[in-house]
Subunit: 134 residues, 2 copies
Amino acid sequence: MIYTVQQFAKMFGVTEHTVRYYTDIGILPCLRDEGNRRVFNEESVNWMQGITCLKGCGASIDDIKEYCRLCHLPESEENMRARYKIMLNQREQAYRHIDEAKAVAKYMDDKVKHYEDIFRGKNSRRHKSLPLDG
Amino acid sequence: MIYTVQQFAKMFGVTEHTVRYYTDIGILPCLRDEGNRRVFNEESVNWMQGITCLKGCGASIDDIKEYCRLCHLPESEENMRARYKIMLNQREQAYRHIDEAKAVAKYMDDKVKHYEDIFRGKNSRRHKSLPLDG
DNA sequence: TAGAAAGTTCGAGTTACACGAAGTCAAGTG
DNA sequence: CACTTGACTTCGTGTAACTCGAACTTTCTA
């Protein structure tokens, strides 16, 4: 399967600008057709998945560049260890994000319930003061 | 309890710059002492918690400004409904974030295992091709 | 063959801070 | 009392990662 910029962007829910940006800075591989247009294949898809996940972990573009650089070097023991270490760290961030997101969701649940109590005429503020309600 | 900028920033794990920025754009309330220095109290703490969570949901500064604006208006039925709606939407984002973070964590788990297999001499690439490994 | 659609590069704009400069002010030290 | 220290102030520029628009070229479709 091969894809145009447009198809590829839609596939990952990002703008075409972003896709071009990633290819320009060298973290997303693509081929070119006779008219110099970007062409994306399965390899591009795999890399884009990786980029998306690393970004999801909180990695910066520079972090991702560094990982890409390592992936293009010969696969020495040292190199693989370096890649592994990056992935370990990023995985840790991912788990941290789950916890943070859960805490945020809990807070929002409380807020939502607070408003629903008010609409029900309970006026819970008399019992418990919650932030951000005026 | 009252806090200086420094104490308050440390409390929430942000820089003093960020705290000042929030007060300057009017989303974080604070008092001033005789020397015109910012003084934070429990109300500030509550607002900062709310801001942190809204940001965690993905709300922009402008979104937060809008919510703050509503909180400073008289508490009409309409106003409360508007605030409620914002919180409902943001809660949805929070739950979406949990799912996304879980998916990312799973991907990273696979990558980490992939590398561990290689170190163990399995060379799993012969069986399964994973992205971002060169 | 004309015109729309989709692509190209390039450069400026945006968000949410991050940081440094220059100055104020109160407390502690010699 | 002068001086340093340190935390604070405002103001203004810098940064990351896009985001958008302009101006142009190429390819597809009627």
